[in-house]
Subunit: 463 residues, 2 copies
């Protein structure tokens, strides 16, 4: 029987992060101030600690992971590389489907890879308290955990619609002592302004970021900073441990590079985490199809433009060069699948511009259908975000079947969906209807998943 | 650095279950009918398939695990053996604390070990549909998963108070096509009778079992059977894979037998799973302190009597020889921690009578306190049931510290608590008050957990 769980020993855990900025054919465009000046490190010091600002601006290829960070990560890392043999059998595809399982962290997603690093660097710099925003809740949960580990206070501004749909998220952050409040809130000028003009707004990541940044920079002790869960260079850097581990694990089963790499992409961090180390291989000549998958409800890569834009609604962040739908963008309230951010990480955006990546978008219905197919083949309940990646994996596996090619597909399973079951319920009870999806399409989708089943045994073909 | 995650290859996964009935010094007392006759296999055939009845009555020491079952289990087994080094550091104990992590299954607990086996044997026997009960929801979820895998229909009667507190459980069972309804229900005679006399009852496992058994035996097709998630011999048998794996994993770190073994015990299955293979060692001379931990809210082992009693409230099951609080027992509604069953598995009860095990009880407040200590040291959110075991682990680790002994403690982490956060919230917001716990005790408990923190690094002692 073929191995379906590939583990890695602690001693083989990567000791350095990989920085794609060192290898991109064209140098990255710098962040700008609203009047067009290049942002200097000093300008960012009210928001981030110096050590992370240095990392943000670094073009060094390899950056040491501090032992204090490795120690914490080892609680759940190296994460397993798994092979989705049941899904392969269901699809009758000749493709081999491998995935990194990032659901195994205490907070349940890949986000802890950077939350731990960011909490460590802030602690080292003398910071006492961190603020942040969260959408679906994965990032806020991860930062709550990391702040507890390093003894920092933590305040999380959670996008209101998610806050209301997912009351368990607030409880979970509370386990680690963090304070989670709905955004827009009355605690900040930005929040109060929005509430005045749009009292019924579902909230957005752009709004929540404005609030969290304001709360950090206006704190009078001077020892509060802000932490971002995606988009920025240093955040993506911390996630590359995923792809670096995957390289070692694939080697154990005799694979140098996969043919296809897939990750869902909201701000881009989990996708970058698995993709960037292989992007270096691609720059060096390897033939790999690297696919960031966004939601059709928030299509910055496939329908936005590559331009300088703010990271938040109030324009508190610098202008970043990225694929964007505009910083005023608010995704439709019907959207239950995460990946709500209006912009794409500059490093991913630049790699797309260079032709190294092939972005695509998945609609919410097919994304939830993929999540149910996964639960009914592989068994596990995955995050709605990750299901966008799985929907694309299914497309690629079916393509390989048509072509009769024994491709290797690698994707990142960014987290579990055990705190996101309300979205699943909406899908299964036929309530995902929207301007883009008809009730008839929903009905057909539900009929399709009724039939999802994996019967025969791997070894004998019998049951 | 010492290894904290000990994995086992598929090839080393146990191929046989261990049956403690073969080694108990005194033969097991048989189940009886209400008029005192020994229950024959034929009498059980309306409830269970013949192949499982054979297993229930077997005294063979080793029983082959069918390859079809192994194939499904391999999706997440062997489960990791982990060492709780952060908890050890927090407690400053010389004890080594190891645990089997059964939270890694698709349904999130150890229950899948038997649900997969039971679904397989029912399918093989020609059964089309299974009924069952569930309390906290772990078992119903596990059976829903297993029924989907083998293509069986599944109906779950869920204790009403849990059904209302945990709406996500019903959704999760629905992912795999199962139908979950609150018990008592109007679907059975037993349910209607109870609803008439106690319309506001929170429900109990005893009631839900009556309903599920009735639904199975009255089904006119004759192809519906009932499945039980604990208590019975064959259920405990299927769980022994946990302890058998643990033996191999401990051997990898040079440990033959632990000094102390701990498991929480509702009906006894997860406890038996980790304890029975080591109980054989104890019968053969090894010195091991084997501790089943019950909740003070449902204290059958420490305050009940060893007697023949029904497994359900309506008296539909045979009389079983077990530690019991009486089949009419309903735990207090304030109780949020699982382990609600009125009786203890006959095999565990008999082993207690023989002096092989030392039962103890934990109160709800200390159990939740232990769960928070775990989340703030080890990081993971555990099932309220498992936290009873952790509370006892903490006691034993503190005892080892007082004695200055380098003991090895092994326990079973039966599942994750990601669908049980409402209970955590009750504890953290000071609402666990009951006849047994004062608001002052709650306050002191919350003050204690505020201080829980693990600072220094394992290797250097610094941070």
């Amino acid at each position: 029987m073929e191995q379906i769980k590939i583990f890695l020993d602690e001693k083989d855990m990567p000791r350095k992060w990989y920085n794609l900025a060192a290898d991109l054919p064209t140098a990255m465009l710098p962040p700008l101030t609203p009047d067009g000046q290049v942002v200097t490190p000093q300008m960012l010091e009210a928001v981030f600690p110096k050590n992370l600002i240095e990392q943000e601006m670094s073009t060094k290829r390899w950056i040491d992971i501090p032992p204090e960070v490795l120690e914490v990560l080892y609680q759940w890392r190296p994460s397993p590389l798994r092979r989705a043999v049941n899904l392969e059998r269901y699809l009758k595809t000749p493709a081999k489907i491998y995935y990194k399982d990032e659901s195994v962290s205490p907070a349940g997603s890949h986000k802890t890879n950077t939350s731990v690093a960011q909490a460590y660097y802030n602690k080292k710099f003398g910071v006492k308290s961190l603020t942040t925003e969260t959408g679906a809740g994965q990032w806020g949960t991860a930062l709550a955990y990391a702040c507890h580990v390093f003894g920092l206070e933590c305040k999380v501004f959670m996008v209101r619609v998610s806050f209301e749909q997912k009351p368990m998220r607030k409880i979970m952050m509370g386990l680690w002592g963090a304070n989670c409040i709905a955004s827009p809130s009355n605690e900040t000028q930005a929040g109060r302004t929005i509430l005045k003009s749009m009292p019924d707004t579902p909230g957005s990541l752009g709004i929540a970021i404005s609030e969290a940044v304001e709360a950090a920079v206006t704190d009078k002790t001077g020892r509060t900073r802000y932490a971002l869960g995606s988009v920025l260079n240093h955040v993506l850097l911390h996630q590359t441990i995923i792809g670096l581990e995957a390289q070692k694990q694939l080697k154990k089963v005799g694979i140098k590079n996969p043919d296809v790499i897939i990750g869902c992409a909201g701000g881009g961090s989990n996708f970058a985490g698995i993709a960037f180390p292989f992007t270096q291989e691609k720059i060096n000549g390897a033939k790999i199809d690297i696919i960031p998958v966004e939601s059709e409800a928030c299509p910055k890569m496939t329908k936005g433009k590559f331009a300088y834009d703010h990271g938040d609604i109030a324009g508190m962040t610098p202008l970043l060069p990225m694929h964007t739908l505009g910083s005023q963008f608010v995704p439709p309230a019907i959207h239950a699948g995460g990946l709500r951010y209006h912009g794409m990480a500059p490093l991913v955006s630049q790699a797309i511009v260079e032709g190294l990546m092939r972005p695509t978008a998945v609609d919410q219905l097919h994304s939830y259908e993929a999540a149910i197919i996964w639960a009914r083949t592989e068994g596990f309940v995955i995050a709605p975000e990750s299901s966008n990646a799985v929907a694309q994996v299914i497309k690629e596996a079916n393509k390989a079947k048509k072509e009769g090619k024994q491709k290797t597909i690698l994707f990142n399973l960014s987290g579990h969906g055990l705190l996101d079951l309300v979205g699943y319920d909406k899908y299964l009870s036929g309530k995902l209807e929207s301007s883009q999806v008809t009730s008839d399409e929903i009905k057909r989708s539900l009929e399709r998943v009724q039939k999802v089943h994996v019967a025969p045994m791997r070894k004998t073909g019998k049951w």
